[in-house]
Symmetry: C2
Subunit: 302 residues, 2 copies
């Protein structure tokens, strides 16, 4: 059995986010480009926006939590964007970003609640399907996608209408899973546990991403922090890829046996922007890996 | 300045070695295929041979040192090859392999001292040049290549005759560097220090690889073990790639400033088969990185 992995961790900003950013920003008219863009992000979206903005010559302001991983903050600054910090616990990033956008006449680019952004992220699935085809593999029958706000998942669901889509979230942050089951949007609970998946810590999905996934009959799976660490180690050992916790949840669902293998399986490894010290600890601490039920069966695809 | 990295660590066996193996084995006639192949290897060549042999339905025996990294030994066995162990300090692998080949009528496939193998490895440079072209980058003006026996370096030198070729070796194992300087083959000295670059611990290069590199006017550079560890960490942080010590020596030469950046620079990251525990220690121990003179200037290419 061959499993195809789409390594979005190898993108220039280390994550798929430049797809949606590029798609949105390149559609702005001349006046929109001059006035610039504003985004709020835990990091990967920020870098995607900054990357696209620099290439298109558009000024970009990023509203970023003060506790964002240093590598993501530094990466955003290095790409030439302006960074405005806020306190994740006491301040409202939506309000700060909306105020900035209004005062400058700039366009606010949400990280997932935007049809252009969703459509852009879906190009990951289209590209993966083309690559699988050129390698002589079956076309994707099932896509396993990490889910924060649901932009990537919704984009993939729209891009490949014939494939079954399974979203994966960290335990306690499985609000999209619960929402899809309930039939309405359930936010993350106030007592949600700590998670290493900073890229998936979205307190509430959007109506747009929920509707896309709900209408497609998408279901979700939650994985534990230990299962995510096992997946990060497995990706280093067997794929020779550095994958961040939030990028590894789909692989974790496969390795844990929570998703059974099938022909034409495509797993999106959505990002690789790890905190170096935390990543070193994950690789060094080889705790029990008894739950890697599917490990021997999983193949690889570069 | 953009530097192109060719990530051979992402090959199915985690290294470029399947290129030469495939090229040699696919050229065997029907009788040769039935009698099988024998190879001796510290690991990556073994997996390359095993990978190609399985796909071509050819029996393969690999003579491997008893202290080879477990991941390489396991990988070779998992690919269906027979493994024969020897003691690196007391036994002669060439003799063991020659005896096995003779007794079975099998073809001995050297890891670098073979025109087919060299030609096959060179496809890495051809492919990289094509990829650089499709990305709108300058064609390679300089290739930086890790060197053990010199098979990859010789292949790249033949594949891209207009590019300057620089080979890189670990300090103390810089026998090709010294040989190219001397004008004749100098073996590794008996008092060579320990190195983490198991893939580059070749005691003596071959006349064939030496002649190819010497005739092309290739020069070499030696890097320290600390510079190699810095390069491994940089590859994880900035390229999100797991690169083994021997695969990272070219990057180490760039980051240390021993090779100046120039347009059209291509660096081969030749393998990613790390020992998991040793790799975790490298990532955890962030010693002084003062010598990363070129770090800010190095771009990336997936």
């Amino acid at each position: 059995m061959t499993v195809a992995f789409k390594a979005e961790s190898l993108q220039p900003v280390g994550a798929f986010k430049l797809r949606g950013a590029w798609h949105r920003l390149s559609a702005l008219d001349e006046q929109g480009r001059q006035r610039g863009v504003v985004a709020f992000s835990s990091g990967n979206h920020a870098q995607g926006i900054a990357w696209a903005a620099r290439r298109l010559g558009i000024p970009a302001v990023i509203v970023m939590p003060s506790d964002a991983p240093k590598v993501k903050r530094d990466g955003t600054l290095a790409l030439g964007a302006e960074v405005v910090s806020y306190d994740r616990r006491t301040e409202n990033r939506e309000k700060i970003a909306a105020h900035l956008a209004h005062s400058r006449g700039a366009t606010l680019v949400p990280s997932f609640d935007d049809p252009w952004v969703i459509e852009g992220q879906g190009s990951a699935a289209i590209e993966a399907a083309q690559q699988m085809s050129s390698l002589g593999l079956d076309q994707p029958t099932r896509i396993v996608v990490p889910c924060g706000g649901g932009g990537l998942a919704a984009g993939c669901a729209l891009a490949l209408p014939d494939a079954e889509v399974t979203i994966v979230e960290p335990e306690g942050w499985d609000d999209m899973c619960r929402s899809l089951e309930a039939g309405w949007i359930e936010p993350v609970r106030d007592d949600a546990p700590e998670t290493a998946c900073d890229a998936l810590m979205t307190p509430r999905v959007s109506q747009l991403t929920f509707d896309v996934l709900s209408n497609r009959g998408v279901t979700g799976i939650a994985v534990s922090e230990a299962e995510i660490r096992i997946a990060q180690r497995w990706a280093a050992d067997h794929l020779r890829l550095v994958v961040e916790p939030g990028g590894a949840v789909g692989l974790a669902a496969i390795l844990s046996g929570k998703i059974a293998l099938q022909p034409g399986m495509l797993v999106i490894l959505s990002g690789g922007n790890v905190d170096p010290d935390a990543y070193a600890r994950v690789l060094a601490d080889r705790e029990s890996e008894n739950s890697t039920q599917n490990a021997d069966a999983a193949g690889e695809l570069s």
